[in-house]
Symmetry: C2
Subunit: 284 residues, 2 copies
Amino acid sequence: MSEKITRVAFQGEHGAYSEEAVIEHFGETVEPVPCESFDAVFQSVQEGNCDYGMIPIENSLTGSIHRNYDLLLQFPLSVVGEQYLRISHCLIGVPGTSLERIKKVISHPQALAQCQQFLASLQGIATEPVYDTAGSVKMVKDTGSAEIAAIASQRAAQIYEMAILAKGIEDNPANFTRFQVIAREPVSPSDDAKTSIVFSLNNRPGELYRAMSVFALRNIDLTKIESRPLIGKPWEYFFYIDFVGSIEDPVTQRALANLEEFSTFMRVLGSYPRHRPQPKIESG
Amino acid sequence: MSEKITRVAFQGEHGAYSEEAVIEHFGETVEPVPCESFDAVFQSVQEGNCDYGMIPIENSLTGSIHRNYDLLLQFPLSVVGEQYLRISHCLIGVPGTSLERIKKVISHPQALAQCQQFLASLQGIATEPVYDTAGSVKMVKDTGSAEIAAIASQRAAQIYEMAILAKGIEDNPANFTRFQVIAREPVSPSDDAKTSIVFSLNNRPGELYRAMSVFALRNIDLTKIESRPLIGKPWEYFFYIDFVGSIEDPVTQRALANLEEFSTFMRVLGSYPRHRPQPKIESG
């Protein structure tokens, strides 16, 4: 009998950037479990099929992944960690091919868009959008063609035993994604932590300002604010706030108690150790 | 020679909800000009091919249309009006068919999702996503089949001379879209107005709170806040704020001058007459 291996759900195929975030966060010993959709990632954690889920929450170029904000509210799960990942694209082909032989490049539309300048520099190359970055590598492998290349991560090239024809081909190197780790039970980080909450307010002037005062007056640093529609109440919102501080901290507790005095709904999504990457921007 | 007719660009085919917003806002005498993409709407106004553009900015069920926020910043155009529209879906078939004969329903995936309960009540009906609501009516018309229906607006049924098989079939009647009207030159509404601005801040704790204080301390009512990534500066943001008040109002002017004292960038997107619909929710 083998030891129980930690299973972590992610959206996409093996070799996806989300899988890279799983490995960065948990190390090589966990089992990343591919899921078809973000919904399936949440489902899989809730049902106990996986211990954790790794969900992208925001990209530095394209913004928030709003579907995951909605799912955080819909599922009774907790945020227990965060992970930043530098997104760096490679051009990937079958072993033995070369950059000069490529006539068509396939990938997720967002990856193609992020490598526009590089692709233009190749001249006369056709592009074709497909559903997934890692999936595009799999597709090129299946065709066996030396004239088609995919755009995906270095890790995807390794997994599918394919050749890297060019590295760091993204136009803008300031391309990072922030992920959150979800689990069935919350954690209680004691020291350097962040907390994510969601709340709604009375539809009166000045209420959001009042909610932000709760944090500002206690010198609590808000790192992100996002709003999503409150279904059934047009032009009312759920506000999502991330701030620096642990739920164990009395100052945090007083701030949240203060917010609850006038919010119409408030839920702590989770308190988790803060990930502090050095967002070093390497040149391609 | 005919008089010059006002041309208003919108995204989608004739019969799209955006075209309905054009007619609601400008009346029947203008010429709505269909465009393939939101980008094309902005382009068309900038180049002078159209006098105005009508862009959806937020839906009460699905949230902000983030692409249009980004385009408002990229193009040197002004917001000169707003329009609320109740989104109410119809099931539409070829003349002579009936609800009982329908075996397949096609529409934009969001429209199909918004009519899920109605579709389930029909039993044994297949659904198929297509690119556009109005476009789906056109497609049903082209097939001539009495067994296929589309989901779109009442207006789309009229335009393509098709039959309405069921009305108000959306699960949630609290379905509204807010549109903004864009033009090359700003307007200066003097009385009941709203103003839209975009700004960025130093990446320091408390700066957003400070920005909101500028309005709160002057009793200016913020109606919407949205954030979008500042490209090239990971985890810094452009903030979009809509508030009640005209740019002609000295209080507004002082608030914006105050904001400019510490913002790193600030642009007035436009000041425009406030649209005050009675958001009456009729039952299907």
